[in-house]
Subunit: 441 residues, 2 copies
């Protein structure tokens, strides 16, 4: 049996505590499987005396994670502090510079500084592993870094934020509005008191930035991501989606196109009869489309102490086994610069919902604006049926609005935007148009 792998863990929140418990539970079995023990030797956290349900008196305590990061007594530094900069970044840099392997679950850190950190890890010949930074226990980092490395990836996309998916699932299943469901999610602990980071799509964008680099061998480019959140989604949209054979999910999508790589986060219509549409609640999924592997999708818990600890453990196991790979699939020197595709060049189908004034010629004017942009429609739906003879439908009166939903054939985003701007300025609609992109699976 080889000498054990000695860990220093910085951060004893939910995930850190979960990791300690997992190692306690599995250490005997792991030692037999690995021919080598995994041993926590030191820890650091904001507060020392706090009941976490684990005995940390067994470990050397460090007040300062930076000191832990460079301790002579550890082989690998596990960063579970979180945050894009500050002490998390400093301690990871310190550990790498001191020649320690690093395992982190910190998506913000990687989205903002991943390229530099990867280069630093490679220089020192150590691991920088981050399976837990994206999609909980789903082994997507390993799959991209190892399993699909011999493929040309065309698209990687998925449901990467459990909070948003929980809210959309609840809205759909219970026919309720966004604000009401968000409040409930906050009360249940599925959404933060300040939910903006999740519901506005930024958390998804962090994860997408990492996936993009691993899928295409490019430098990480968080700032180029186009981001829309879910707060504009209404029960009407969800109902119309259902009628038209779709469900609405917040997706992060990175896709190779002729003009560059699209990175986009937005509410998306996915076909109702698909495995992705059945990914409900806080569950995550990531789909990979590649030239040889074809369409592969991985589904699993997107967060939580145990699933996240499982992925951290997987990273630690790789280090214990001596599997030290370039963090971003390509050695840093070979990473391509990220070449963004402009969102206006995006091609796809679109769902459009308009509140149209109920008067002669309104719909013709709208149809005309779509035609001018050469947008053809796959289907049009009007939820409140319009009778042939005005006056017979007693519920209608002048000045009423009619909800009109359209699904377009594949078209350019620039065309859709121009058409909607023109429709708005024509004054035939009473509120801002709703536009939701459709993703082909």
């Amino acid at each position: 049996m080889n000498h054990p792998l000695r860990l220093g863990i910085a951060g004893l929140g939910t995930v850190g505590t979960g990791l300690v418990k997992l190692i306690d539970r599995q250490s005997n079995q792991l030692a037999s499987r690995l021919g080598r023990g995994i041993e926590i030797v030191a820890v650091s956290a904001r507060t020392r005396d706090k009941d976490r349900g684990i005995d940390i008196s067994r470990y050397v305590w460090f007040d300062d994670p930076l000191e832990l990061a460079k301790s002579e007594d550890i082989d690998a530094f596990v960063e579970l502090i979180g945050g894009e900069g500050g002490i998390a970044k400093d301690s990871v840099e310190t550990a790498l510079s001191a020649g320690k392997h690093v395992v982190t679950a910190n998506k913000a850190l990687l989205a903002h500084h991943g390229t530099e950190l990867a280069a630093r890890a490679e220089e020192r010949g150590v691991a920088l592993n981050f399976e837990a930074s994206v999609a909980g226990s789903i082994p997507i980092i390993k799959s991209l870094r190892e399993s699909f490395l011999g493929n040309e990836v065309r698209r990687v996309f998925g449901i990467l934020n459990g909070t948003c998916n929980y809210i959309l699932t609840k809205m759909e299943q219970e026919g309720r509005g966004y604000d009401e469901v968000l409040k409930e999610a906050q009360d249940a602990g599925y959404a933060e008191a300040d939910p903006a980071f999740d519901v506005d799509g930024h958390d998804t964008a962090h994860k997408l930035a990492i996936l993009t680099s691993l899928a295409f061998g490019t430098e990480i480019s968080f700032d180029s991501i186009y981001v829309e959140g879910i707060s504009t989604i209404t029960p009407e949209d969800i109902e119309a989606a259902d009628d038209l054979g779709y469900r609405i999910k917040l997706l992060g999508v990175a896709q190779k196109t002729d003009s560059g790589i699209e990175q986009r986060v937005h509410p998306t219509m996915v076909p109702k009869h698909s495995a992705m549409a059945e990914v409900d609640g806080v569950t995550n999924c990531v789909a990979v489309q590649a030239d040889a592997a074809g369409d592969v999708m991985l589904i699993g818990p997107g967060a939580g102490a145990d699933p996240t600890a499982s992925s951290v453990m997987s990273d630690i196991i790789d280090i214990a086994r001596g599997t030290i790979l370039p963090p971003l699939i390509v050695p840093s020197a070979h990473l391509s610069p990220y070449k963004p595709a402009r969102m206006r060049s995006h091609e796809g189908g679109y769902y459009i919902r308009l509140s149209v004034l109920d008067r002669h010629g309104a719909f013709a004017a709208i149809a005309q604006r779509m035609a001018e942009q050469e947008i053809s429609l796959e289907s049009i739906m009007q939820k409140r049926p319009r009778t042939a003879l005005p006056g017979i439908d007693a519920s209608r009166s002048p000045g009423d609005t009619l909800p009109v939903v359209m699904i377009t054939h594949e078209t350019l985003e620039a065309a859709i935007r121009k058409a909607l701007t023109a429709i708005e300025s024509d004054g035939q609609i009473t509120s801002k148009p709703q536009m939701i992109r459709i993703e082909k699976l």
Copy 2:
């Protein structure tokens, strides 16, 4: 740049040819990603002169794969011959003994001889990789061997045979019978002329035997698998499943129980609103339930030249990178003997369909037999409605049978079998009872 990894490929059928094409296509990118080339140096196949759409004159030709397996000029031997014994087995043994890494897509070989082959690979310190042996391009072997190694797996299960899933999907979508759809699948090339190996569940069992070992760290035990095929499934079953909220899939399931490990292959009811139910056609999926990771599912193409070549490539890449792991997650010396759980001890819900004689007391007698075994029913459904007053329903006549479908609460398989035996011998039914297990997801 390190010296290239030199491959010898034995077998140039669909997968072998696909692999050569994939390496041709990706070799430049791979060399940059790996810092090392991947180079085919020699090949062997049954026929040398055959138009495969690839130029094999670039490679050294071997008439005898055994000679190729021990050639001084290769580092890794890729076995794509197939078959549980014969030349496939001999050549893999020869390669391992000669200290060559081995990559194989051969599920039959592993299901029957995997434990010994793994030990031989470990003795020689070489890799024995077989990602392509189970579920096409889905990275399930790597996930079990690496990602979930720090977990206690409770169950691994999935749709592992594309032919069966194609047939069941077609039957469901088109309301057609098994024989008719099978014939069409044969004509379309989705089923073999002799379909028994697929439709009787043996192919699924081969793959399950491998997954079981990787999930639980046990010796491979193909012969202990309980196997039922799909040929008894009728359109009535599929329709009733739909009414009750289920779809029918052929699953392979390996599950830890108090009495041992269940390994079973049989048609299974899975909830209609689940990602697994949406896995249609020739697509495969594998679900893993583990203590920390939770419920993770991987979906992807189950076969085909490119998807299979993608997995073979992934195995080759691991070797090129020096990732040499114990083939069966645990070093062979630590594998546990496989302890089977008896099928009669299986606990679960059951779907029962009976053709009941339309006479007084028939149903009461059946209900009595269920009650004697302490089986409680979740639902009962009679497809042809029974009117309150006999005689009013003109379509009924004495001697007619009524189809009765029951869903049981969780119960013992032994109890179900006893109840059905008793029901059969009571003579209230006109044909053999249909029994399909329900799998909780």
